[in-house]
Amino acid sequence: MEDSTSPKQEKENQEKLGEARRSWEGKTAASPQYSEPESSEPLEAKQGPETGRQSRSSRPWSPQSRARTPLGGPAGPETSSPAPLSRREPSSTPSPPAPARQDLAAPPQSHRTTSVIPEAGTPYPDPLEQSSDKRESVPLHTSQSERNTFQQSQQPKPHPCGPRDVSYNNAKQKELRFDVFQEADSNSDCDLQLPAPGGSEGAPSMLETAIQNAKAYLLKTSSKSGFNLYDHLSNMLTKILNERPENAVDIFENISQDVKMAHFSKKFDALHNENEMLPTYEIAEKQKALFLQGHLEGVDQELEDEIAENALPNVMESAFYFEQAGVGLGTDETYRIFLALKQLTDTHPIQRCRFWGKILGLEMNYIVAEVEFREGEDEEEVEEEDVAEERDNGESEADEDEEDELPKSFYKAPQAIPKEESRTGANKYVYFVCNEPGRPWVKLPPVIPAQIVIARKIKKFFTGRLDAPVISYPPFPGNESNYLRAQIARISAGTHVSPLGFYQFGEEEGEEEEEVEGGQNSFEENPDFEGIQVIDLVESLSNWVHHVQHILSQGRCNWFNSIQKNEEEEEEGEEEDEEKEEPDYIEQEVGPPLLTPISEDLEIQNIPPWTTRLSSNLIPQYAIAVLQSNLWPGAYAFSNGKKFENFYIGWGHKYSPDNYTPPVLPPVYQEYPSGPEITEMDDPSVEEEQAFRAAQEAVLLAAENEESEEDEDEEDDYD
């Protein structure tokens, strides 16, 4: 259609102008805005070549005609062919119909964009100067500039009109143009593409009525839904033109459905909507607070302090390394966690802090920070286990206080094993958790051995709320915060590793008499650590060592001998203690000492406990060694030779090849010595009672009878 090269086609285009305007009738109503963008584009695009043409008087319409060509419609040819014919009539004739049509054209065109108008308009005056109709055309332009451009743009002339009009081109061009303008304006409204009748006034009116009828039909409101087709089609086409989807015709029905559905959304509600407090906004606000930390008083001094103390770990650096391994949270989230950790270190007197990891939960997740307080600045501990102990004692006392007639039970609650002191063993570090960076950090209570023991037997998902109860068998002593703490302790003990030699034992502090573990509790960084080759770290597991104490079955790291406390019941105590001592002794051996290489870790069903990889096979010289735990899925450690870091991200459960089965209930405990006092006996049934009574009476009777018999015998004797 864009045959701008041949002069013939140009003329055709000019003719098509007029035709396009007619044909456009059918289109404009349905898609008032539709044609504009398209028209403006081709119009503008053609301004260049068009201006070149403008030197020729016959060319000014070419841009518009071209613009119209893309939009050409089938009615074009029909309408355009009569148009030139009609226009050949005295030039005055166009004027009466023109205004009439212009009225029709006015409403829909009022909103046409006028961007193209000035450009399109400028060529017009030139050719029209020579025509007597010029004055009409000019006001046409000015008054209906919008409509003109619109029409012109919207009247792409289909090619079929071309050939017919060629004959008219030469002499009538100017008149044609002028006529076309006027008629085009008026025709804009028409939905239908009726053939323009030949120039007489009767024809336009027929055309008009037909158009109006059609439009009225389209505007008819549906009785079911209250829509009308006219509006719906215009909305749809608007949407399509705005969004410009590909292959729109294929998804046409969907678009139609969507437009209908969109009608039901609230466009304007007289009720004021409060700004919805979406959870997104709340969290964003909290996180914003994180970013505003820098504005504290005495910024300069604080900066120095911060740089000097350096309690905050370089989380981003570790995250970078972990990313090489394919592990980690996204950069954004890590940074926010970083800021949250900074907030933590600012508000608490912390010596050292480490980002331990993230534990996923059902409703919310936990971000865990491992923290070591400064010397002497321990926070007060909540005394919980004392209460528990008292409760146990209280129960047994209650039993004794009651009537002595009740048999005494054997049952003695096992001595609660006291928790380890803070800064030692499983409580070496204090852990803080929060649900999201930005939320306040909560300190987790220290862990009790009983909690660890039971945590080993249950498998529960975390909900994300620290106060949620943990309902399980065996019953877990505590709520979710305790369970979380216990799992954290187990994971740390099981998976925190470091390259061999990074840590070394501190100086001997003299023998420790109380605990007999044979291991050292403390270690310190080795200043002479030279690093291990990454390849070595990957190939051999003996290059990695645990630097967290192993937790014994008892639930503690340092063996607690409960025998020493029980001095009362020595006999039974000794028996029990002996039994305990043996596993105790074995426990000592099994509990590997600190800094044992992980090659000593046990396998799970022929699966090695650790998997080592190089982070990248493609670039081995800069790769890092990555350790993945198979026992605790989600525990990772990396090292690049000199630096190392541990991280956990997961659900907080140990790996087991079989599904979890809760432990079987133990048999009912023989609490009381068996004897007639407590042995159950059936109550006598009615018959038995009666029989018993009868027997008793029989005995009485027998006794009486004997007496009576003796009397009778005596009487008989007399006879």
Partner: protein, 255 residues
């Protein structure tokens, strides 16, 4: 995740801690493009990663025009060379269900499983121990199939069915609103429907046949199997992750 929007989807999915290292990501992007061209798929999705002891499997799936048709599964050990996996059959699934434990990471590894089978020899019936070898590839195929059948979900409205039969991506799908995204009923299982025919007529009357042609998540048992965990980003997008717990690792992000 669509190969086109891989990076963005990876970023969104990173909350659970599993991500891809830069070299894997880069090689994935290029190799998935090539896979799409070579196998002439309409869409290539990066399904995920199965961790093995020695190596990890990276899984991709190719879809044809019809979204609900059987997907072709490919696996790769290094994100560069992809091999096609055979489609899963019932037999395979049954066979692999006896294998427990971690994946090795070597597709030619064979698991040995001893079964007692009754062998009839003449009149005598005695049991013989037969060692059944199950290839890891078979196990991989069946595991992927099971995971897909159980937990692959898609939001309502993302696919629509035409009267001709094939299912198409709904290009006019603009996402779910926040309240809709929290409800389980706005998600479907991305597989052939199993329960649809069991619905009562009343329920069926409410359904739109072009959109509601898959099983909804609402009726899955146990009821609390799936939970919605909301993770919010500071901009105005909300990510809702629906975590499928019994497979512990499948996350769906709806933005």
């Amino acid at each position: 995740m669509d190969a086109d929007s891989l990076l963005l989807s990876l970023e969104l999915a990173s909350g659970s801690g599993q991500g891809l290292s830069p070299d894997r990501r880069a090689s994935l992007l290029t190799s998935l493009m090539l896979v799409k061209r070579d196998y002439r798929y309409d869409r290539v999705l990066f399904w995920g990663r199965i961790l093995g002891l020695v190596a990890d499997y990276y899984i991709a799936q190719g879809l044809s025009e019809d979204q609900l048709a059987q997907r072709k599964t490919l696996y790769s050990l290094n994100c560069t060379e992809w091999s096609l996996l055979p489609p899963a059959t019932e037999e395979m699934v049954a066979q692999s269900s006896v294998v427990k434990g971690r994946f090795m990471g070597d597709p030619s590894y064979e698991y040995e499983h001893t079964e007692l089978q009754k062998v009839n020899e003449g009149d005598k019936v005695f049991e013989e121990e037969i060692v059944v070898q199950i290839k890891e590839e078979t196990r991989l195929v069946s595991v992927i199939d099971q995971i897909d059948k159980a937990v692959a979900i898609i939001p309502r409205g993302a696919l629509f069915k035409t009267p001709f039969g094939p299912t198409h991506v709904n290009r006019t799908f603009e996402g779910l609103s926040l309240s809709e995204a929290k409800k389980l009923s706005s998600y479907f299982h991305f597989r052939e429907p199993v329960e649809l025919k069991n619905k009562t007529l009343l329920e069926k009357a409410d359904l739109d046949p072009s959109l509601d042609f898959m099983d909804s998540l609402e009726h899955d048992i146990p009821k609390d199997e799936e939970t919605g965990a909301q993770r919010v980003k500071p901009k105005d997008t909300v990510s809702v992750k629906v975590l499928e717990l019994h497979s512990s690792g499948m996350n769906w992000i709806v933005k």
